[in-house]
């Protein structure tokens, strides 16, 4: 069998609102070439399962991650395949799935793709697994914040822990609803759903929690979209450890306020979070918004933090739990709200991270005691980071397993995106799962088609075994 060319790879990444599509893997990976709404239309003739791509009653095949209308979803797939793949080409299709899809739906989709769309190569992978490919973490905790729900999935050695995953019923809509609920007591007056959504996406809506260490670069990656230019560098790790976060924020604010007095006179020159009010541009109107623009994410953050604790407790091995805490992948468009990611991390840190002053017993010794404090094998010499000694902010070495310390996490951070992709340097957080899909597609379809551990289904194997052949590569 001929090898699959990069130009024949079709990636379909469906969500409840939009579907990202890309045909052909470019030399250097880029953000998705096309994003279309995940909507098709019931054909005006009213016949059942008769759809149209352009006119009629709109149908959303995916709601909260679940496929609620399978024929409509299949129709969407067919429209995508027909639109993007030229006649005569033999596409290799990678479809990103969700833990909410049922086995029967996955078999039906497989059947549809081979029998109706005549695709020669096909595979399905969980979106959480694809996400983790962008971060190149074999063990990680993927938190996908969606519109109506958030999926929290531990990935252990590249295997998604479906049975460990937790779904929290909170997402972007939760924030919108909270804004509406709070808006009647704000200067803005009661906002409609669309207005609240516009505010949420406006950039003047941000999470600024004085109690936490937001606006920090503590939790791993530098967030280029949200860097406070005048803040300078400061070691939040140290500040948190010293328990002086509040004083620090206060003094920091004061310094900045003084700077402001000297340098700037007009309030409109101040950064958004130092102003009492700001303006939301909506439909040609200007709506003045007060402190409303700093609230409304608490419910979402709390629910995610609860869910993460439960999901991590489902992981059997304690070292794997620490690995998950050390590689948290936070994705989803809601997280483009400035400060939200940091707020979630700060809340996780405050709730779960083990910070105490006692360190004595945690230092592994070289004396041969039978206790489990004794470092064993390759782990020997890897000292437990000692909270309070100033070492907390130092990343633990790769592959580090915390043998001498039963309780985790002693350390947590956001996973870093792989550094090999210059096009993604200024990536947006909502696109990283798609980068993962591109990397995965390269790996999956790049392998020889005859390889016994093939990760995709060929038409040949489909013709022999039928739809169930998908279980050889998925799940």
């Amino acid at each position: 069998m001929a090898p699959i060319h990069d130009k024949d790879v079709l990636i379909i990444f469906p969500g409840s609102e939009v579907t990202h599509v890309q045909y052909g893997l470019p030399e250097s990976f880029t953000p998705p070439s096309v994003t279309i709404p995940s909507v098709i239309y019931k054909h005006p003739d009213g016949a059942e399962n008769h759809f149209s791509a352009v006119e009629g009653t709109p149908v959303s095949p995916i709601v909260a991650g679940k496929i609620v209308d399978l024929p409509a979803f299949c129709y969407l797939l067919r429209v995508i395949i027909k639109t993007f793949v030229p006649i005569g080409a033999s596409p290799a299709v990678l479809l990103a799935s969700s833990i909410h899809w049922t086995p029967l739906q996955i078999e039906r989709i497989t059947q549809f793709v081979f029998q109706t769309c005549h695709v020669p190569y096909f595979t399905i992978e969980l979106s959480s697994l694809l996400t983790t490919c962008a971060y190149n973490c074999q063990t990680s905790l993927v938190i996908e914040v969606g519109k109506e729900k958030t999926d929290i999935t531990p990935i252990i050695d590249w295997v998604p822990g479906s049975s460990m995953a937790v779904t929290v019923e909170a997402g972007g809509d939760t924030v919108t609803q909270s804004i509406i609920d709070a808006s009647s007591s704000d200067i803005s007056g009661p906002l409609s759903w669309d207005q609240a959504t516009a505010l949420k996406k406006s950039g003047i809506y941000e999470v600024f929690n004085k109690d936490s260490d937001s606006y920090s670069r503590f939790f791993g990656e530098a967030d280029t979209t949200n860097k406070e230019s005048d803040a300078g560098e400061f070691d939040v790790a140290k500040i948190v450890v010293d328990g002086k976060a509040q004083e620090f924020v206060a003094s920091h604010e004061k310094t900045k306020a003084e700077d402001g007095e000297e340098g700037q006179n007009s309030e409109s020159d101040l950064p958004n979070h130092e102003r009492d009010t700001n303006f939301l541009e909506y439909d040609g109107m200007k709506i003045e918004v007060g402190s409303l623009r700093f609230q409304g994410t608490e419910d979402l953050v709390n629910k995610i933090v609860d869910g993460v604790g439960i999901a991590v407790s489902h992981i059997d091995s304690i070292p794997a739990r620490q690995d998950c805490w050390s590689n948290i992948c936070l994705v989803g468009r809601t997280l483009t709200i400035p400060g939200l990611k940091e707020s979630i991390m700060a809340a996780l840190h405050a709730r779960y991270n083990i910070v105490r002053s006692s360190t004595m017993s945690e230092i592994p010794t070289n004396i041969n005691t039978p206790g489990n404090q004794t470092p064993t094998g390759s782990g020997s010499g890897a000292a437990t980071p000692i909270p309070g000694s100033g070492a907390s902010g130092t990343p633990a070495p790769e592959g580090y397993h915390d043998i001498g310390h039963g309780q985790v996490p002693t350390y947590m951070r956001l996973a870093k995106i792989s550094e090999h992709f210059p096009e993604w340097k200024n990536y947006k957080i909502e696109d990283t799962p798609f980068l993962g899909a591109q990397i995965a597609a390269k790996v999956i379809f790049g392998a020889a088609p005859t390889a016994s551990d093939s990760l995709y289904v060929t038409r040949y194997s489909y013709n022999i075994s039928g739809p169930r052949t998908i279980w050889d590569v998925y799940g």
Binding site: W101, T102, P103, L104, Q105, E125, L129, W158, V159, S162, S163, M164, V166, T167, V168, E169, V240, V241, D242, G243, D306, G307, G309, I310, S313, H314, D316, I318, A350, R351, I354, V355, R356, S357, S358, S361, T365, T369, P370, G371, N372, Q373, P387, G388, H405, G406, Q407, V408, A440, I444, S452, D453, S454, L455, R468, W471, D472, V473, Y474, G475
Partner: protein, 414 residues
């Protein structure tokens, strides 16, 4: 990206559902797979409809009571149990009971009435096309790749020792008692209470105290009042159990020899931090709590029935009550399974004690090193069993049930 499962003849093609209902977790998944796809807490919140599953039960709700449909290792409240199974299979696995044969596990000591009831529920209520009731100890035996073994299963509510010979249990030589994970939790709770330590669950902590010295009061923690939130005792216990479970996982250890204070004191203490930031250095209590699994009379902080024996003694009793010809084979094939056997040092201690108790026999212990294989031993064995090609003839079909009634279970499922 999982690699394809090795091709096995036949059986897996009917894609049976394997259901392993435990006291703490209900496990469900497809036959032929290596781990259950759905692992659901067996505790649920009483409500109409009930709140089931980890995504829902831990949400603090005023007045919500927690219930558990299991007692003595098997179902006592069928309504509640069926709802949990339905959630695991319909919601989590995404399939319908009526489309797949169902293999369910049961302990060695279920009554005939309960077994008949299980068959009735399966065919009448769940509408399964075929059914089989498998002994969980037999399943654990298969999961270890054996047909003959002495299975020590340490679960949440009970510990059992069951001899399995050529795939059949020897009922008269199987024993069980209440020494399990829940028992260990109670030991820990009692030790903490004796030191005036309050376990504050996560749901009540708004902000924990940081940088405390060991045993320093967590006064700076911001804690909500359970009474203000209207939380019930049963809910608080469920949430405290999560903390105690963590204590079990990270602090508890079984000493390799019977507990002695001198030996325990030389071990380095292990720190433990509670959700409110309060932290302690656990010294000898690390060992005394779990010692009760081996010496309940000497170390249990709660009352236990007079005839309760420890883990190794139970294995010994079970082996010695078997026919003398079988003993050597059983002692040489001891399978340890169940989540509570993951307490550090557990298997080593069983081995040590058995060396002393059975000096004339060769003792060999088999315990899966992988913790999920140990936790899900019963389920995995059920998965292996029901995907065997030769298992086809074992299923009780709906037609057979309609002809013979529920008593067919006694003939078919030994």
């Amino acid at each position: 990206m999982s690699s394809p499962a090795p091709a096995v003849y036949g059986g897996d093609e009917i894609s049976a559902i394997v259901l392993d209902p435990g006291s703490q977790w209900t496990r469900a998944g497809f036959a032929g797979e290596d781990s259950p796809k759905a692992v659901v807490p067996t505790d649920y919140i009483v409500h109409d409809p009930p709140f089931i599953g980890d995504d829902y039960i831990h949400v603090p709700r005023s007045g919500a009571e927690v219930a558990n449909p299991m007692a003595d290792g098997f179902v006592s409240d069928w309504d509640g149990a069926v709802k949990i199974w339905d959630y695991a299979v319909t919601k989590k696995l995404g399939v319908s009971f009526s489309d797949h044969p169902l293999l369910m596990t049961e302990p060695a000591w279920t009554s005939t009435a309960d077994r008949k009831k299980a068959v009735e529920i399966a065919f009448e209520e769940l509408q399964v096309p075929a059914f089989y009731l498998a002994r969980s100890s037999v399943c654990a035996c298969f999961a270890a790749g054996k047909a003959t073994a002495l299975v020590l299963d340490v679960g949440h509510k009970q510990m059992s020792a069951t001899p399995v010979y050529d795939g059949l249990i020897l009922k008269k030589s199987s024993f069980h008692n209440g020494l399990g994970g829940d028992f260990l939790s109670k030991q820990i709770a009692a030790k903490l209470a004796a030191q005036d330590i309050t376990v504050t669950p996560y749901c009540l902590v708004s902000r924990k105290a940081v940088q405390l010295d060991p045993f320093q009061a967590a006064d700076s923690a911001v804690v909500k009042s359970a009474a203000d939130l209207g939380l019930t005792e049963s809910f608080l216990n469920l949430e405290k159990e999560r903390v105690i479970h963590e204590f079990k996982e990270s602090v508890c250890q079984v000493m390799e020899v019977p507990y002695n204070e001198g030996g325990a004191e030389t071990r380095p203490p292990r720190p433990f931090e509670f959700p409110d930031g309060y932290n302690i250095n656990v010294t000898t209590d690390r060992f005394t709590t779990s010692e009760a699994l081996f010496n309940p009379k000497g170390y249990s902080a709660i009352d236990v029935p007079k005839d309760t024996v420890g883990a190794a003694k139970m294995v010994y009793d079970s082996i010695m009550s078997c026919d003398v010809d079988a003993r050597a084979n059983l002692a040489y094939n001891i399978v340890i399974t169940g989540g509570t056997s993951l307490v550090q040092g557990f298997t080593e201690r069983v081995q040590q004690e058995l060396f002393g108790l059975l000096p004339g026999l060769k003792v060999r212990i088999y315990a899966a090193g992988n913790s999920s294989e140990r936790k899900y031993g019963g389920w995995i064995g059920g998965s292996v069993l029901s995907s065997l090609g030769t298992f086809h003839q074992m299923w009780i079909s709906k037609k057979e049930y309609e002809e013979a009634g529920s008593s067919i279970v006694e003939k078919r499922c030994k």
